[in-house]
Subunit: 291 residues, 3 copies
Amino acid sequence: LCPPGLQPLCSRAQVWGRSARRHPGLLLAQSRAFSNNKILVELDEGAGVATVKFKSPPVNSLSLDFLTELSISLEKLENNRACRGVIFTSAIPNVFSSGLDITEMCGKSTEHYAEFWRAVQRMWLGIYGSNMVTIAAINATGGCLVALSCDYRIMADNPKFYIGLNESQLGIVAPFWFKDTFVNVVGHRIAERSLQLGTLHPAPEALQLGIVDELVPQEKLQDKAAAVLAQWLALPDHARQITKSMMRKSVLDRLVTHQEEDVQHFVSFTAKESIQKSLRKYMEMLSKKKG
Amino acid sequence: LCPPGLQPLCSRAQVWGRSARRHPGLLLAQSRAFSNNKILVELDEGAGVATVKFKSPPVNSLSLDFLTELSISLEKLENNRACRGVIFTSAIPNVFSSGLDITEMCGKSTEHYAEFWRAVQRMWLGIYGSNMVTIAAINATGGCLVALSCDYRIMADNPKFYIGLNESQLGIVAPFWFKDTFVNVVGHRIAERSLQLGTLHPAPEALQLGIVDELVPQEKLQDKAAAVLAQWLALPDHARQITKSMMRKSVLDRLVTHQEEDVQHFVSFTAKESIQKSLRKYMEMLSKKKG
Amino acid sequence: LCPPGLQPLCSRAQVWGRSARRHPGLLLAQSRAFSNNKILVELDEGAGVATVKFKSPPVNSLSLDFLTELSISLEKLENNRACRGVIFTSAIPNVFSSGLDITEMCGKSTEHYAEFWRAVQRMWLGIYGSNMVTIAAINATGGCLVALSCDYRIMADNPKFYIGLNESQLGIVAPFWFKDTFVNVVGHRIAERSLQLGTLHPAPEALQLGIVDELVPQEKLQDKAAAVLAQWLALPDHARQITKSMMRKSVLDRLVTHQEEDVQHFVSFTAKESIQKSLRKYMEMLSKKKG
């Protein structure tokens, strides 16, 4: 199953897959970049580390295509024994990710809404349930769900960068598994207030609330992410993976058990005329801001 | 069903009810106070904001009458589409609320204990499950359960004002839903220690532990509460309400499912001679303090 | 059932048991020490306070013998109405406890692993579920599980002393009930990170993360523990005990319900050759450090 535009990833999988790991002599280089449309993956097999860079201009929206490519990239890395840790970051200056792509939820068919939501679920299940060590190097505004699903979050120390789950500002509702992920990071009280208000927190506040683990100057972000990842990789994989699974299993299982219900709930909510109106209004506001 | 002393509220409901909201021309004034014995409600329909003031001297104890009036007032506001947010505060200087009225639990019939406890449950279900934005403007000592059940807590910045759930100091036990509410605000550890010791925390400590969200000078408390409420009301109601319900549903459901069990448990515990003795001792201590 | 080496404790139980409490005239002294091999218990019946001192050189490892003696000592105290509170501390300078004794998990029979694990469970059920007030006076490095299971944790203020659950550094995994205990103290996020990394936190960091409740100078530790215990004992026992049980019941029940499953899981995991290899490696590293 190889959707158009993902050929490089797919052929890589065939060349670099399990057989590649068993026969490293087949590899042309230890470190090498492969790319598709919206996600750039740099894998350093020597270090066991991949950097997954978002490069979907203008704002790395979590569109259906973006989500699908991200999930496929991750699944390849997950199955690659040479990869033990992943850093997520953005290749676009001043934008990490704008979050869910509203155009995917507006004026489309219910089938489209369902397909989109399954792609959001798949991405979250992939990151939150990853056996690899996952680090978010949040080099600009946004991307709260991706970041919250990682093992560790480092953000560029700039009060002009924001992070948060702002669904309620758009008149929509973060699903229970966004909420569970958020609560597991910051606790019930902070999540309750932040989700109700749809707050986008400036970086210093995000640190104070525990949404991110540390702030570092922008120019040191990638080095710091690599250093933190190296610390985590110093631990034996097996015990760490079982421990991670023990911490996250109940929240992961809750979505897995209710996955199709959750899709149907999203579709029927999104298709409501009142919600469509609210989303159109929000998009108009955004386009005026830019104009 | 219109208990004596609540006529103003009830007639208001008939005049100002749903039909009033549909025909604002019928209203004589946009803002108007109505009162009963122990609760003063000021509703500003223009702003969509009600202030609920406790005025049951000497210490705003949560007596059966107080609780019943508070619940009826809230239910009226809940059903009034013109009201989107509520501020709880006290009309009595230096007292917010002394908490559960011990005289209702001492030397009375088991029927009375049951009626009292149902009134406590009803109040909590009303505030914790409210669709409105709820702000506690804690202008003096006390009132922890009401405050913890709100969306946001502002306390007068005075170390002589205290807040906490002190049941265990009286030899009685906070029920599981007080505990769940407390844990959802401050986390398991702080709740465990505070509930075991029945600590009344001075305002600065309450802030530090997360029992309240901010402290402001006494004279700015009401303005601050109004300003915070306005921020919350800037959000679309529907998404905020669903989000709030998602955060609180499991804790609310737990009481709803075990409501009658919880009443019976309270009654049989309270009716024990050892507990009655302990409560009498506590009341004697209180009356000596005053004398 | 009186295992060899525990005679003093057992005969004390017969002499000082329930009948002793009913006939205090039988007691030779109000305060008196009794000892066995690895645990020293000092009971001050006047104050209702016992001090349980770990004295199993060199490092107070939680060996099968140590755990059994600790559990028996605790069960005696639990059944002694004259004892309302316990302070856990170490009689060995610069060591509180090194945690689980790895030699019990390495190169032994599966029957031995099962017996060892049941002893760990028994100790935890005894401390975490104790009706007494439990205070950890952590006068040196280690002992995280014992400490986390107490009602209050005081640690000597020395950055050279460490505390944490470092299982994953050994290639093994803390069981779900260690995790539940940890989460109840520090919340999900801190537990998730600390357990994955198997971090041993220096005392100041342990305070900051909430792993311990306060730091005091080494020489004031025992006095401070006694003072804190006295505060807790000022509360009526019954209400405090019910409150404590309400806070901890779901976590205790989870192990009780899955106790034998948990033993079997531990045995089959521990008996794996890969785990045995990892433990041998860790022991070699430790012995090199010492050498």
